[in-house]
Symmetry: D2
Subunit: 240 residues, 4 copies
Amino acid sequence: MPGPEQPDREQVTAEDAIRVLDHGFVRLDDAMADDLSVANAARVSFARRKEEMDDADRGLIGFLMRERHGTPFEHNAFRFHVRCPIFVAREWFRHRISSFNEFSMRYAKASDDFYVPAPEDVRTQVGKPGAYTFEPVDAELAERTRAELRAVYDAAYAAYERLVEAGVARELARAALPVGAYTEFFWTVNARALMNFISLRNAEAAQREIRLYATACEALFARHMPVTHAAFVANERRAP
Amino acid sequence: MPGPEQPDREQVTAEDAIRVLDHGFVRLDDAMADDLSVANAARVSFARRKEEMDDADRGLIGFLMRERHGTPFEHNAFRFHVRCPIFVAREWFRHRISSFNEFSMRYAKASDDFYVPAPEDVRTQVGKPGAYTFEPVDAELAERTRAELRAVYDAAYAAYERLVEAGVARELARAALPVGAYTEFFWTVNARALMNFISLRNAEAAQREIRLYATACEALFARHMPVTHAAFVANERRAP
Amino acid sequence: MPGPEQPDREQVTAEDAIRVLDHGFVRLDDAMADDLSVANAARVSFARRKEEMDDADRGLIGFLMRERHGTPFEHNAFRFHVRCPIFVAREWFRHRISSFNEFSMRYAKASDDFYVPAPEDVRTQVGKPGAYTFEPVDAELAERTRAELRAVYDAAYAAYERLVEAGVARELARAALPVGAYTEFFWTVNARALMNFISLRNAEAAQREIRLYATACEALFARHMPVTHAAFVANERRAP
Amino acid sequence: MPGPEQPDREQVTAEDAIRVLDHGFVRLDDAMADDLSVANAARVSFARRKEEMDDADRGLIGFLMRERHGTPFEHNAFRFHVRCPIFVAREWFRHRISSFNEFSMRYAKASDDFYVPAPEDVRTQVGKPGAYTFEPVDAELAERTRAELRAVYDAAYAAYERLVEAGVARELARAALPVGAYTEFFWTVNARALMNFISLRNAEAAQREIRLYATACEALFARHMPVTHAAFVANERRAP
């Protein structure tokens, strides 16, 4: 996968929701985000403020990005609603400069949706730690992988249901559920932390599954802050 | 000053700006904030979501506050524009879970506005560290204090101007400026961190000047998230 | 379980390691932590510093805790090495004011240790969300639960091994592994954030499994900062 | 000033204290920091741990730095004691991923130490915002600057003392004190955040005064984590 995936703006529906994987999505629940706020936050340094973007603002945003003046990119917020497999969520929740609220398998019954990769997403790893590359497997192994996963998921969920049915606390019965199970959460983050997330997760070194989610987030980000996004890309996709 | 100051909603103008001290203000530049988002963030635990607040939501918000479930209060943002004396800003910037961009005395010329307390705000401290109380001083000392401060401010600013005029770098000439000088900044913060700020700064132990700013922030907060604010007050003004 | 579990100092071995659950542990890898640093950090307010604790310091620490002066409790560090089930780690990693490095199932092969609760730890939930209580189940259901979990674990791990053996990337094959699987990580945290963790996780509302880990952390904390720990307990176990 | 200042290890005394400016210092009060902890934190990914550094560890640290795996650099702590002018402290306190406790001018009487630049440190700014360079001024202006600052400081401190003497609360009287006044604080920070501080503050774009402090911090950092410091320098002084 050479270079970052291009966010496809066509995928973005009127409701700001993008389907990802077999049962997941990224949906922008709300946002307080535009490029002008970046320029105005920076301009408070000079006690100046504008109502509309102009070319000077575009130049300023590029300058801030290049020179690593990061704080002007923090005066905004994106609230995402995400549905993804647990193993994706586990990587996501490592991003500490943001806010999470997740579906609780202590309080509610787990869903029976599990991630089964599309055949073309089943892959083998080549090389050594720190420098893996991934290649597709043949059709037979792809299908076998899907079947193995489905079998484990079915057996695990059946055991989970039997235990819950028998009265075992949900928080304990969930121990049986594979990390391929879907979870969902709200995620609120500012553009600076979001760019950091995108730079690490829509990248070659990232796992394919979270990369697809990061690509979706990037599309929604680019739509609300196009000048900032362009400056981020021009800056070799490094967050300021 | 017994108990927290009551935020006066009448002070809040159509533009969400409140005057504070002799040359300062708090202005809500933008917000993505309502009570419903708290309930919906909490309800993602059960994969439920609503479009309008009802009594169950009010009860839920009270429950979250009491039981210290803090994260549902983070999925929102307030962007304030603040003008205050440097000694107030220094306390304000200690609040790390938020974003700041400040007027720069390296890049721009300092303003010549300085804080001179109203006569009734000049006070003496009684008691010992950790348990000070403050009492008004007599009219003569109040006036003398104002005169002393004005004289220092005038002399300091005149020296600053002479140095800048003579070509000394602004970043160095500013060393002469007293912490009573006004500065301004953008501050973006979520409701959880904002409640923490308010609980510490609109409180008896806080310095009178920052308390007036915190009172203004509280009025703007209460206007956008009245149910959350009421739950905060009912919880003895402790942030969750 | 009425009130917090008492940390048992006898459990703490010479190596600062405490066994938890069937295959887990908490080990204090290193620490820069003592009570004196709290008093000295607070005393920088008065430009004073001591070499040894005395009664005034004990009083000061109690005062800081009660009055919610939290920052003096941050000038220290505990580095823990933890081994626990994934579902415990998922709650743990929600604590953002700290640092984590975890075993990677992308880079290395998953261990075949899984959490099987002791019979007396199998429980049923009574009541409704927000107010659950838990009660033991009868011996038969306890044993059945253990058997069900073991069967799922065995089947899942066998499938995982077959997939890895067949060449499927580890990062994908892991989707089959239940959240009862053990993981391990390093966790570095200061006393203020650690007290927040303990107050929430060694508490009645916490899940039994993470509570046992929090109890272990509390024992190690109490050993290095006994005065701070006592003040925390006296303050109704609320972090400042 | 071409390139970053070289930290001078000779300046570091046995007590880990370095004098900076006319009345300031940086002193390392305590540290839990070595290069091995970086390698071990990273190796928990593979469940491996060592007691001594070897060449593989050095290579690993370089790899982590280049590939922006930042978290292994967080499992350590440096506690600094700093004395610097207020205008330097104001820039310092913008670094939120760290802990501060500062001398309080509310609780204690301000010191009468103020920053007067050495003649060769008096400078003029050339160019425009975002691209300033600084050049020395002639001897006469340097001396005049020092005299102007001294006069303001003396007048301000005399007014402050008169007000405090007359009974005005210290927290209010301090409004007269210039930002050239010295303050002191404890600062606790991990290596990752410290590298971020150094990369921004021991840099050409930083103000000369804070740069000297950052240079001192860098010398102390390099002494405790020489391999990490070398990797940081090799990585163009960008924090991971």
